[in-house]
């Protein structure tokens, strides 16, 4: 078990390197956009990974509200935090891709705006978790997480239901993609999912130890105060 983390870490590093090679060298060059289209292999897997992490956050929040298990609360916190990192990447790589292709960095269309709103909801979730000292913070955060998760399908399906500047989905919804590009996309998604899993795992362990240390501090100060009253 002790070796599982380093072994998975090495395998993920190899997979990420292979995915990068596939994205930059093996994937065919798109005819209209040229090489800049290769941003797609980082932009789309990051978005899918963020959606999965926000869904995990949603499930863990419901489990916490129903069973009040601290482990579910930690999973919710960790998945939201790592999800925000991936969503930030989507919001950064999107405009970098849009500038040469659309001629603008940003437009307030439904997909872009809803993604920004989703990011803001989860950032506010993390701010609430970080700065609220109330004992009810995990419950409030879980309620906010459920609200935030409702935005995930809205962001995903926004390009199906609204006329947007953003292209149609690559899988389903009328979009199509070259099978070689799809293969590279799925490899990159797998690599980023493994990376996200590893980061979540480390963050989970860190949070668990942090809570144990806080408890030990509380016990130590209780011990000190009881000694001083004697």
């Amino acid at each position: 078990m002790k070796l599982a983390f380093p072994i998975l870490g090495v395998l993920t590093a190899i997979l990420l390197s292979y995915a990068l090679y596939m994205a930059l060298v093996v994937a065919p060059t798109e005819q209209t956009m040229g090489d800049v289209q290769r941003i797609f292999y980082y932009h789309v897997p990051s978005a899918w990974t963020a959606f999965i992490l926000f869904t995990i956050n949603f499930v863990a929040s419901i489990v916490y509200l129903v069973r009040r298990k601290p482990a579910a609360d930690i999973v919710a916190l960790v998945s939201a935090e790592v999800g925000v990192v991936f969503c930030t990447i989507v919001l950064v790589t999107g405009p970098i891709w849009a500038r040469p292709v659309w001629g603008i960095w940003w437009t307030w269309d439904m997909r872009l705006t809803s993604t920004l709103v989703l990011w803001l909801i989860y950032v506010s979730y993390l701010v609430l978790r970080r700065f609220s000292a109330s004992g009810e913070t995990p419950v409030l955060a879980a309620a906010l997480a459920i609200f935030g998760a409702l935005c995930v399908p809205f962001v995903y399906f926004s390009i199906w239901f609204f006329r947007t500047q953003h292209p149609q989905p690559v899988m389903g919804g009328g979009g199509s993609i070259d099978p070689r590009m799809l293969h590279v996309l799925l490899i990159n998604w797998l690599a980023f999912s493994c990376f996200a899993f590893l980061v979540c795992w480390s963050r989970y362990r860190l949070e668990k130890v942090q809570r144990d240390v806080e408890q030990a501090h509380a016990m130590a100060s209780l011990g000190q105060s009881s000694r001083s009253t004697r």
């Binding site: 290769r38 941003i39 790592v82 990192v85 990447i89 950064v92 790589t93 970098i96 963050r203 240390v213």
Partner: protein, 40 residues
Amino acid sequence: MNRYLLAAYAATWIIHIAYLSTLVSRYTKLKREIDELKKS
């Protein structure tokens, strides 16, 4: 290499590395606290 492509890939890894650095610094701080707790 296209400069926008380079910027997007670099930005992705800068964000990931920045986040991983915060985890490392939190871990270092926590380790110090554990050592202090053990001493006391």
